[in-house]
C-alpha cells in the first residue's frame, strides 16, 4: 500500500509540472500582449515588457516562473489589478470559491443520495417519476438558467435570500449560488444512486439478507447503500471538478469575489500570470481530488488497489 501511495503521489507531482509547461507554452501562443492598450506607444510597450521580464527568452521566463512559484510567488497581475501580487489577489478569493464549492458538493451529494434512495425504494411509483423528472431537469438545463430563475423567484419576488454575494453575510448570500451550483450534482448523484441501488437491491446477497428477516433502515443503510456507495465515490470526483467550471458562470452572476470570475476576466484581458496561476490551482485541485479518490477507493475496496498495482507494474 505504501509503495502504491508513494507512486501515486510522485505521478501527481510530475503531472503537475508537465501541466505547468503546457500552460506556459499555450500562453505563448495567445494572441495579444497584456499591454496592448490603445493608448500605449510602442516604446512604452517595450519598456513594460522589459519591466516584467517579458522580453527574455521563453525558457528563462519559465524557469524564473517555476522558481518563484516554488517560493509562493505567482508574479503580479498586469491588467486586472495593476501591479498587485497574484498571491494577494488569490488569497482572499480562494477560500470563498472553495467554501461555495464545498457547500454545493455537500448539498448535492446529500440531496442526490436521498432522492436516489427514495426513487430506488419506491421504484416505479409516482415518487420515482418525480425524482426522475427532477434529475432530468437538473442535467438538462445550464446552471445559469437556474441561477436566474432562483434569483428571480426566491431572491426578488419572495425576498428570502440576498441576490448578491456580500462578505458581511457570507452564508446567507451564498445560499442561492450554492443551490444553483449543486443542481447538476444533485441530478447526477440521484440518477447514479438510483441505478446502483436498484442493482444492489436485486442482488443475491440482499435477497439473502431479506430472507433472513433483515428489513427497514438497517437493510437500506448497512446492506444496500453501503454497496451502492462505492461506485458513487468515483463519479463524485469528476462532479467536483465540474463544479469548479460551473462556478465561473455562477460567480459572475452573483458577483462573488472568487477565482472563477477572476479567471474569465483574466482570459479576456490577457492577464498571463493570473491565467497561469488560476489554471494551475484548478489543475492542482483536480489532481489532488483524483489522488484522494483513488486512495479512498483503494481503502474501501482492496480488489481495486490490487488491480491497479498490477496494471502499473
Amino acid at each position: 500500500m505504501k509503495k502504491y501511495l508513494l507512486k501515486r503521489v510522485l505521478i501527481s507531482i510530475a503531472t503537475l509540472l508537465v501541466i505547468l509547461v503546457i500552460l506556459f507554452l499555450m500562453l505563448e501562443f495567445m494572441p495579444g500582449s497584456p499591454f496592448n492598450d490603445e493608448k500605449l506607444t510602442t516604446a512604452q510597450v517595450e519598456l513594460l515588457n522589459a519591466k516584467y521580464g517579458l522580453d527574455k527568452p521563453v525558457f528563462i521566463r519559465f524557469f524564473n516562473y517555476v522558481k518563484n512559484m516554488l517560493s509562493g510567488d505567482f508574479g503580479v497581475s498586469y491588467t486586472i489589478s495593476k501591479n498587485t501580487p497574484i498571491s494577494t489577489l488569490l488569497l482572499s478569493r480562494l477560500p470563498i470559491s472553495v467554501t461555495i464549492g464545498g457547500q454545493a458538493v455537500l448539498l448535492g451529494t446529500v440531496v442526490g443520495l436521498i432522492l436516489g434512495i427514495i426513487a430506488a425504494l419506491k421504484h416505479n411509483t409516482i415518487w420515482d417519476t418525480l425524482t426522475t423528472i427532477i434529475s432530468v431537469i437538473g442535467v438538462s438545463l445550464p446552471s445559469y438558467v437556474f441561477a436566474l430563475a432562483l434569483s428571480y423567484s426566491l431572491g426578488y419576488k419572495l425576498e428570502w435570500f440576498p441576490l448578491l454575494y456580500s462578505n458581511k453575510a457570507p452564508f446567507d448570500s451564498s445560499i442561492l449560488p450554492t443551490i444553483s451550483l449543486s443542481m447538476f450534482t444533485i441530478a447526477s448523484i440521484a440518477r447514479f444512486t438510483r441505478t446502483e441501488m436498484i442493482e444492489v437491491m436485486g442482488s443475491d446477497y440482499i435477497q439473502l439478507a431479506e430472507s433472513k428477516g433483515i428489513s427497514g433502515i438497517h437493510l437500506i443503510v448497512r446492506h444496500q447503500l453501503r454497496n451502492a456507495l462505492i461506485p458513487i465515490i468515483t463519479v463524485l470526483a469528476p462532479l467536483i471538478v465540474g463544479l469548479m467550471t460551473g462556478s465561473l458562470v455562477i460567480e459572475k452572476i452573483f458577483s462573488i469575489p472568487g477565482i472563477g470570475s477572476l479567471l474569465v476576466t483574466a482570459i479576456q484581458s490577457n492577464d498571463y500570470n493570473v491565467i497561469i496561476a488560476i489554471a494551475f490551482i484548478y489543475s492542482a485541485m483536480y489532481i489532488g481530488i483524483m489522488l484522494v479518490v483513488d486512495i479512498l477507493y483503494g481503502i474501501i475496496d482492496p480488489r481495486i488497489r490490487l488491480a491497479k498495482e498490477e496494471s502499473h507494474e
Binding site: P31, G32, F35, T84, P85, S255, P257, T265
Partner: protein
C-alpha cells in the same frame, strides 16, 4: 468496512448540519460577538440614511493615480482624491486643491497657490506632492500608460523626459515653497486647466508612497485621501468598495453623503433585480431592459463620450478606394442602430469628433458650429458603390469585420452586416468576434480588413480624436496618410495655430472635414448610457470626459 460506516456517519452528520443550517444560520450570525452586531446595526441605520450604493460593471484596476487607465478606477479615485482643479456640473474646471492661480500673459506659465488642505493621515497637501506625482507620471521607469497626457498638457520637457532624452528633474513643475507650485509649458494649451482635473495629475504624498512601497493603493491603510470621501474597505479587484465621508476635507460642509458603497455586478439582469429590491441606488441598464424601464421617472439618458466607428484598413485591396469606403459608410441605417438596437440614448454619429466634448473660444459646443458628414443615404451609397466597382474593375467584395465580444457591439455588428449586404449587392461581410484586447492588437498590427472600434476622449478638446489619424499614429488603424492633415494637426498642437485660439478651432474643423471626406473612419454612433437613479438621489454629476461620475454634491434623502 468500518471506514464506510464512518464515512456514512460523517455524511449523515453533514446532512443534518446543512438541513439545520439554512434555518439557524441567520440567528447564529447575529449572535456573534457584540462588536460585530453593533457595527452591523450602525451600518444598517446609516444605509437607510445616507450611504449611496452604486453599481459598477468592472472592478477597479488600480488606485494609483499615475497607473490607473480605466473609467471605473478614475471614478472611485476621483471620489477620494482631488487635483488642482475639479470640474463643475457643466464640465468647466473649478479650483480645488489650488486656492488661486496666476496665469502669465502668453499662457506659458501658471503659478498655483494651494489651499490649506490635509491628507487623511493629517499631513498637509503640499506643492511637492504634485511635483512628485507628475515626475512619476513622466518617468520612463514608471511606464505609465497615460504619460502622454503630460505631453498633451504641454508641461515643459515632458515629451523629452518620456522618450528618455532628458532627466526627470528637468520637468517644468517646481515647488517654490510648500504651498506654491509653478508650472511652465512648452507651448500654450487652451484646455490646460481642465486637464488639471484629470486623475493622472492627482498629487501623491512622497513620504507615504515611499513608506508603503509596493503595497501603495492596495488597501484602506495604503490609500491617502484629500477628497470628499476616504476609503474604508478595499482590496485589489474587490467586488465591493466602501467609502466614508472625509471629515478633514477642506469643503466637508458641502458633502451631504455619509458614504458611498460600490458594488460590482456584471450581469445586467441581476443588476436590475438588485436595483428593484433597493440594494443599489444607481445602476446602468443594458440592451432590452431599456424598454422595460424607459417610462420610469428614475430612468435617465446620459451622453457618454465614446465614439463608435468602423475603421477600414486601407492597405487591404479595394478599401484604398475612397468611393468604396464612402459606399460602406452611407449604407447602414444609423438611426435604427441608435433607436432600435441600442435604445440607451446613443445618438447617430455623422462626425469624427463627438458632441458635448469641448466648447470653443466662442463658448459654443464644437458640434454646434461644425458640419456633419457621411449621413446615411442608401441610394447614394449604391452610386458610390457602382463608381467604386467601375474604378476597381471588381464586382464582388468580401470583407471580415472584427468586433469585440460584448453584447451591444455584436448586435450592432450583425445589423451593420445585414444592412451593408442588402444595400450593396455584391458585398459580403463576415463577422469575427474576440475579446477587446485581441481586437486592439489585431488592429494595431494591421491584421484586419474592417474593425468596429471605439474611442473615448482623454481630455476636453477635439484633438483627443483628431490626433489619432496623423501619419504613423499607433491608433491610425487604417494606415491613412495626408500631408495637409498632418500639418494642420501639428500646427494646432504646438505651432502657429496653437497661438490663435479662433484660427485653431477653424483649423480643427477643417481637419475633421478632411478625415470625413476621405472616409478614413466610418462613424456609427456616439454612446449614451441608460442609467437608473433612485428618486431620492440627486446631484450626481455626469461627465463624458475624465471622471465620468462625481459624487461630491450628491444627496440621498
Amino acid at each position: 468496512m468500518k471506514k464506510i460506516i464512518s464515512l456514512l456517519t460523517v455524511l449523515a452528520l453533514l446532512f443534518s448540519l446543512t438541513a439545520c443550517g439554512s434555518k439557524e444560520a441567520a440567528p447564529a450570525e447575529s449572535s456573534t460577538p457584540a462588536e460585530t452586531q453593533t457595527a452591523s446595526e450602525t451600518a444598517t441605520s446609516e444605509e437607510a440614511a445616507n450611504i449611496l450604493k452604486v453599481q459598477i460593471e468592472v472592478e477597479v484596476a488600480s488606485m494609483d493615480p499615475q497607473i490607473a487607465t480605466d473609467g471605473t478606477s478614475f471614478e472611485v479615485m476621483g471620489a477620494v482624491t482631488e487635483g488642482l482643479y475639479s470640474v463643475d456640473a457643466a464640465g468647466s474646471p473649478i479650483l480645488a486643491m489650488a486656492e488661486s492661480v496666476d496665469k502669465s500673459e502668453d499662457g506659458m506659465s501658471y503659478t498655483f497657490h494651494l489651499r490649506d488642505a490635509n491628507w487623511s493621515n493629517g499631513t498637509p497637501v503640499t506643492a511637492n506632492d504634485f511635483v512628485y506625482a507628475w515626475k512619476r507620471l513622466v518617468d520612463p521607469a514608471t511606464a505609465s500608460e497615460y504619460s502622454f497626457i503630460a505631453e498633451i498638457a504641454g508641461i515643459k520637457n515632458a515629451a523629452a523626459i518620456i522618450s528618455g532624452d532628458v532627466p526627470v528633474d528637468e520637468l517644468g513643475a517646481v515647488a517654490e515653497d510648500d504651498k506654491t507650485l509653478v508650472v511652465t509649458l512648452d507651448f500654450p494649451v487652451s484646455y490646460f486647466e481642465s486637464l488639471m482635473s484629470f486623475n493622472s495629475f492627482f498629487p501623491v504624498n512622497e513620504a507615504f508612497f515611499t513608506e508603503k512601497g509596493d503595497l501603495f493603493g492596495t488597501s484602506p491603510d495604503t490609500i491617502l485621501a484629500n477628497g470628499p470621501f476616504k476609503i474604508s474597505a478595499y482590496e485589489p479587484a474587490a467586488t465591493t468598495i466602501e467609502l466614508v465621508k472625509n471629515e478633514d476635507y477642506w469643503d466637508a460642509d458641502a458633502v451631504k453623503l455619509d458614504g458611498i458603497e460600490y458594488q460590482v455586478i456584471k450581469e445586467a439582469q441581476q443588476t436590475m433585480l438588485a436595483y428593484q429590491n433597493g440594494d443599489i441606488d444607481v445602476a446602468t441598464l443594458a440592451g432590452e431592459q431599456v424598454e422595460q424601464f424607459k417610462a420610469d421617472p428614475e430612468f435617465h439618458n446620459i451622453m457618454a463620450g465614446y465614439l463608435w466607428y468602423i475603421s477600414p484598413n486601407q492597405t487591404v485591396a479595394g478599401l484604398e478606394n475612397v468611393n468604396l469606403r464612402k459606399a460602406i459608410a452611407l449604407s447602414y441605417d444609423k438611426a435604427a442602430i441608435a433607436n432600435n438596437i441600442l435604445k440607451d440614448g446613443s445618438i447617430v454619429a455623422d462626425f469624427a469628433v463627438p458632441t458635448l466634448l469641448a466648447a470653443g473660444p466662442d463658448g459654443k459646443d464644437y458640434r454646434e458650429t461644425a458640419d456633419t458628414y457621411l449621413a446615411t443615404d442608401k441610394a447614394k451609397a449604391l452610386e458610390y458603390f457602382n463608381t467604386a466597382k467601375a474604378e476597381l474593375g471588381v464586382d464582388e467584395f468580401s470583407y471580415t469585420l472584427i468586433v469585440e465580444d460584448t453584447e451591444s457591439a455584436q448586435n450592432v455588428a450583425q445589423f451593420i452586416q445585414s444592412e451593408i449586404q442588402t444595400t450593396l449587392p455584391g458585398m459580403t461581410i463576415t463577422i469575427e468576434t474576440m475579446p477587446k484586447k485581441n481586437r486592439v492588437e489585431r488592429m494595431q498590427e494591421g491584421d484586419f480588413e474592417l474593425g468596429l472600434t471605439r474611442w473615448g476622449p482623454d481630455y476636453a478638446d477635439p484633438m483627443t480624436y483628431l490626433d489619432m489619424w496623423i501619419t504613423d499614429s499607433p491608433n491610425n488603424y487604417g494606415f491613412w496618410s495626408n500631408a495637409e492633415y498632418d500639418s494642420i494637426i501639428q500646427s494646432a498642437k504646438n505651432g502657429e495655430l496653437a497661438l490663435d485660439l479662433i484660427a485653431r478651432w477653424e483649423g480643427l474643423k477643417k481637419a475633421e472635414k478632411i478625415v470625413m471626406d476621405e472616409a478614413v473612419i466610418l462613424p456609427v454612433y456616439q454612446k449614451g448610457n441608460a442609467v437608473m437613479i433612485k428618486g431620492n438621489v440627486t446631484g450626481i454629476e455626469f461627465h463624458s470626459v475624465g471622471i465620468n461620475r462625481i459624487y461630491k454634491n450628491a444627496v440621498k434623502n
